[in-house]
Symmetry: C2
Subunit: 389 residues, 2 copies
């Protein structure tokens, strides 16, 4: 086990009607809040009204900034920073999914800086602190409600998508009501589910040989998703299944599954390029990449992939034929993603291979990606090509 | 899944030489620290010197209070409170196991109160805040390095042992170096291990039917202990096994395994009486009680005990004979504790049954104990009696 440091101070308020806690929580940080959200969904389903009413009840002044889109843009973040400075905002409340939360995190750090907030993402300026941030989560997927990361896109500079990590980026509190996810469309539910599983895969496939507890916690998390995701897709209003998926999304990415071990994140890098070039949903890009990444790298540690097949998928351990066992686990992964309605190839997603060279170039322009296996440009090309059909 | 609230803001600094971080951490809270510890063990093994040197290097003024004993007493706590008030202490550093940490927690809340600190334990005064608290953990067992609980004994009033829980009782940081546990005697290592497992049992055996993820996380934690504890006893300086046990101790009791479900804690109550009447180590009392508690209650939910047997112990699920499968899991538990060198009966521990009536009386004097099954005095007597041989 490698030395590690872990802190996740987020206060989780989980369950039915949890959103009624927002006013009480915000009051701990001040009287003036920036309410940050995406499109009209929260207005249509009544969540916006309930949150506003609760904030009003607690005499909290609300300044609004809606309009966050998938792959949140630095333009709106800059706007948010200006508002917070001008209005002396005490706290940000992000109501939405990962994009809204990530945008709010970027605003929260921009407030404490006189230059352009994008400087944090180019690493020209180190992050030090963030405005208090509360979250009302509506989409279980990115884990941003507890993670120390934000991912923001700069559309002015050729769609640069940049991630930033620092423990001050963890929200102060996260309100999580599984009922709020009942109306998520199946595709978004499934894509969120794959994203959650990917956060575990990126940690599970490690070169660290000694990580017994975290291996088992990873397996517990994956098995929960394998059991609960199909239930949620079949019965969107199954509270228990929605609750399992929502909480699993948090555990999968608050960092607890990565302590003491090296992580990978190559699949995320490969997937980000698919998002950038074809405007695809993050989770769908991962469903395409992950099984092919697995097929490309499994020989680096066949026994780890045997363990994955046996301890996650319950595949019989064919002890004399470890490679066959390992490949069965990978095949199961692909079949599972497909059963969720996710694409597992370029063809499934209706995209061609014309951009492969360019994507691989972009993916590796700062050097090889991944931790389990270091992927150079040529490796990326091979994985993309394997994913064509 | 029941509604829940969960927060664990402790900053974990884990690994070799982790204790060298104390000065840097304490500085965040002030310049004057109360160094709280037990007997001479940390002086003999050099830990005391290393911590003192590090604090000196960071120009932190140190006031010392040693002498904490197992089942920490309110007398020393009162002394600590006086010192902190008189010396304007900024932060407490607890170097030791659960007793030292619990004593430090009690001191930390007493500082903010003009009356007798025991009032918190009689619930006459509600807890509101605690002085910043850092921990250097030397015994993996109680989980107090991350838990929201402290247990203190009042020896003046007939050995009243009282627990207090509040989220402000979670330490601010916890330094965890597995090497510090190399010199723990086998008995203490084993008793600590049983304590860790008991924290999972108290949560695993729940009446809540829907808790898929936390069930699996509980099982992951128990299986890790079953694998690693014998290794640690066989090779006390096996770093990896010591590291697994130490981190598992934290996960087992920081509360994450109890979210969304009812818990039990009946075995702890029964065990506390054995400690009080026979001055036994906490973990040893649990090794005696737990298997007999299981035998007494399993019929309340046989399928949960079947799951325990199959998913924790890997026992073949004899589907047509669930009771047999359930009982095999309980038997395995007893055998495992015995294999660790723990007593699993009064006889093993060299104690008689003369105090059973009195212990059962004390155990239930505030009403029935336990959540999975409510145990009245008569139930307690039966469990104690079953544990005689």
């Amino acid at each position: 086990m490698q030395n590690f440091r872990f802190i996740c101070p987020t206060d989780f308020i989980f369950g039915k009607d949890a959103e009624n806690a927002v006013g009480e929580e915000i009051k701990k940080y001040g009287k003036k809040v920036l309410l940050h959200y995406g499109g009209g969904h929260i207005k249509k389903n009544g969540l916006y009204d309930r949150v506003m009413e609760n904030l009003k009840k607690h005499k909290i002044e609300v300044i609004e900034l809606g309009g966050v889109k998938a792959n949140p843009d630095i333009g709106l973040v800059r706007e948010g920073v200006e508002i917070c400075k001008k209005e002396n905002i005490d706290c940000i409340l992000a109501v939405g999914g990962g994009s809204v939360i990530d945008s709010a995190k970027a605003i929260g750090i921009g407030v404490y800086y006189d230059g352009d907030v994008w400087d944090f993402f180019t690493k020209e300026t180190p992050v030090k602190k963030m405005l208090p941030l509360g979250v009302v989560l509506t989409i279980p997927a990115t884990g941003s409600e507890a993670s120390n990361t934000t991912v923001v896109t700069n559309s002015e500079n050729g769609h640069l998508k940049r991630a930033l990590s620092h423990d001050c980026l963890r929200p102060d509190f996260a309100v999580m009501n599984p009922e709020l996810t009942y109306t998520l469309p199946p595709y978004q539910t499934a894509a969120g589910g794959v994203d959650i599983m990917s956060h575990v895969f990126e940690r599970y496939f490690t070169l660290e040989p000694n990580c017994d507890l975290t291996d088992r916690l990873c397996e517990a998390t994956l098995k929960t998703m394998i059991k609960q995701l199909p239930k949620v897709l079949k019965h969107p209003e199954n509270y228990e299944a929605r609750a399992e998926v929502m909480w699993t999304g948090t555990i999968a990415h608050n960092g607890i599954l990565g302590v003491g071990r090296s992580e990978d994140w190559g699949s995320h890098m490969l997937g980000h390029e698919l998002s950038a070039f074809y405007d695809m949903t993050h989770g769908a890009t991962l469903a395409i990449i992950i099984p092919h990444w697995m097929e490309y790298v499994y020989q680096t540690d066949i026994q780890r992939f045997v363990k994955y097949a046996v301890d996650v998928w319950g595949i019989e351990n064919d002890i004399f034929h470890p490679e066959e066992t390992a490949l069965k686990g990978i095949q199961k992964t692909k079949e599972f993603f497909r059963s969720l309605g996710m694409p597992v190839s370029f063809e499934d997603a209706g995209i061609d291979g014309e951009k492969i060279e360019e994507m691989a170039e972009n993916c590796t322009k700062n050097g090889a990606v991944g931790g389990f296996v270091k992927l150079e440009k040529e490796d990326c090309i091979k994985i993309y090509e394997a994913a064509l059909k």
